[in-house]
Point group: C2
């Protein structure tokens, strides 16, 4: 007998039929003799509907009242899922965030979990109940409702799994697992049976959009074995854990990110402190800078080029203009025509030559590389957006064995 935490997102419980489907998955797991804690998000469009209701009243509601409002969404979905589980004849008990013991800090809208008092969950499990917990929410030290922000239900699930030393935390989504590339775009994309936390983190950051980063970090920290799988099929998913058996694949995933802007500052005087001035200010404004490249320019000046997410381009330009760098500087940017393509794999650490093979693949596909960035387990290149899909396919073909033949 094992303790399994299962998490279902908003689309998995969007209507009565899907709620019944989730109830079947949960009760099958329970019927096999497992203790089951289920974490659910608000139904499909509920959160958007509530945000729209608030917007009708106030353009800038306080975050406290916004959290009070939004937390009603999961309250509805846990009650409905529990009714569906009852209907299948199984014992069940729904718990709101505070009933399940979630204590958070007081940052309304993106609170951090401080502690989970799991006593109530344990009592309900000892009564043989399936426990259905509202994701995304908790209470702060003042007993006020808080929400965890984007991807918060994943974090709730991993936090419960960590606090209760669950044997597995299953994250049900609308994909069957983690793929080596987007299967809609790359015909040879393969579902990975296992992946490391670090690889998953790089893939999540790069836009694979399967798992929320914060939840992967927490799983890594507390050694929670995650499984990403689909609520629509019965297929086994992808296991995320600390170390995986070395497979033949050096590169485990190839992704593209088109939400990228490239910004260049040309003619920066060659004196110390300029880079600090620029990037310190951007950090203070909460603008995340990704690839940075500095090159020697003409006449004792240098050029600095960096990338930010395209969403942040406008704000970044404002910050740069406000900096009053010396006259003669020229700022150029492109937030329309660039894309970042990355190859990720924990095996890269011990295998030199991956970068070379990747550049070769791009060269053979006639793709020009604008910028390069590497980490221990990742190589990213900035290229023309028009070439992005071709680049992903070329890199994928170069590294990933074609298992579909």
């Amino acid at each position: 007998m094992a303790l399994i935490v299962q998490k279902f997102g908003g689309s998995s419980v969007a209507n009565a039929e899907r709620v019944m489907n989730v109830a079947r998955i949960v009760t099958e797991t329970y019927a096999k003799g497992n203790d089951v804690v289920v974490v659910v998000s608000a139904q499909g469009d509920t959160t958007d509907d509530l945000i729209a209701k608030a917007a009708e009243i106030s353009a800038k509601p306080s975050k406290r009242e916004m959290d009070q409002l939004l937390a009603a969404g999961e309250q509805i979905s846990i009650a409905l899922l529990s009714m569906a589980i009852e209907k299948l004849g199984f014992p069940v008990c729904s718990l709101l965030g505070w009933q399940a013991g979630f204590s958070t800090n007081s940052v309304y809208g993106s609170a951090r979990i401080k502690k989970i008092n799991t006593e109530r969950i344990k009592v309900e499990l000892s009564r043989k109940n399936i426990v259905v917990v509202a994701g995304f929410q908790g209470i702060n030290r003042y007993d006020d409702i808080t929400t965890l922000g984007r991807g918060g239900s994943d974090t709730s699930a991993v936090a419960i799994a960590a606090a209760m030393h669950a044997d597995r935390c299953q994250i049900f989504t609308d994909v069957e697992g983690v793929y080596t590339a987007d299967p809609r775009k790359v015909k040879n994309a393969v579902k990975l049976s296992e992946i490391t936390y670090d690889e998953m983190l790089e893939l999540a950051t790069l836009g694979a959009q399967v798992l929320n980063n914060r939840s992967v970090e927490m799983a890594k920290k507390y050694d929670v074995v995650l499984e990403v799988l689909s609520s629509m099929t019965n297929a086994p998913g992808t296991i995320v854990k600390e170390s995986v058996k070395m497979e033949k694949m050096l590169v485990r995933g190839v992704t593209k990110d088109v939400n990228v802007a490239r910004i260049s500052i040309i003619g920066v005087p060659n004196v110390p402190g300029i880079a600090y001035k620029i990037f310190g200010k951007l950090a203070a404004e909460n603008i995340n800078v990704d690839i940075i490249l500095q090159s020697v320019g003409r006449n004792d000046t240098k050029d600095i080029t960096f990338t930010v997410s395209a969403d942040n381009c406008e704000k970044t330009l404002e910050v740069l203009r406000g900096l009053e760098l010396t006259a003669g500087l020229k700022i150029e940017y492109d937030d329309q025509n660039v894309a970042k393509v990355s190859a990720v794999g924990a095996g890269m650490e011990t295998h030199p030559g991956v970068a070379a093979s990747m550049f070769k693949a791009l060269f053979e596909a006639d793709i020009n590389i604008q910028m390069i960035s590497t980490s221990e387990i990742k190589i990213s290149v900035l290229i023309d957006k028009a070439d992005a899909d071709k680049a992903v396919a070329a890199i994928h073909d170069a590294f990933i064995p074609d298992s579909k033949d």
Copy 2:
């Protein structure tokens, strides 16, 4: 400076515009220097929508999960009203039932308030916040969400007013107060400026549908001064309190109730215990019997006639058939063509002759009386439903001075 509790029902907060209207009423009261605690119900159709969602999943959901579900309704409305109050520039804090300290028993769906721990409300008032409390809900000793059942938000408001010794509890509805008769039907109907708890109770029972009976009983018990008034107009409402200054009106309200069925059992053997057998069984089935009339029949038998609400007619007939009373009994019923018309007034206690005047008025209007029932402050007659409006007008004209001339 006074402490005022204001309660707004679902139709008063049905949409953004009405929520803003309520926010204006609340902030005007606060701006006059009062402490204000506001109790709100779920928005318009929210509760019905949630019930429909549950019905899609299960025909018979558990009451615990139903309460968990329904409590989300007020959570939404308190957050929205608080945002509206913020928008008008006033300090505010919304509180769920449990945050406001409502402890109830564990009868899900129709829980009784056991205690209110008002500490949090007091803290927020001392911070000069307007406090917006979710009506209709609390938690039981297990920290599970409960709801108070029909009219529960009225009860929540009166309970807070009682616990905090509020100077007044204002119940905002869609009528301007309590009238001597339905103003849409009786042209001379007059709004009462004051009414006693007992009169209000009789009027509420009789279908005036202004205030929930349980809340009036609680107000009477704890001496809470109630005011019934409209959220749509600025007019003063009706004050409900223990004793009111004697006005010239002996009869304070005339009402009709058409949700009535008359049931007759004809040919009951004249032996002891039959009435007990019948009405004991009906009580055990939770069927409320109103007027009872027993008459001597032919051949040592008697006839028993009584009224129940029309909704309960079918169930009552089943119970009677199940009783296996002696053969030869005949059961007759009419759940279509009868109505109960009542005159209520605390002054009746000390003024004999009211009944006679009432019967005279009905006689002059050519209305036949089928049954009569009296209490200290009420006289009810059962008549043909077709005559009901005419009867109300006739009794009203006989007792209530025509203040509109």
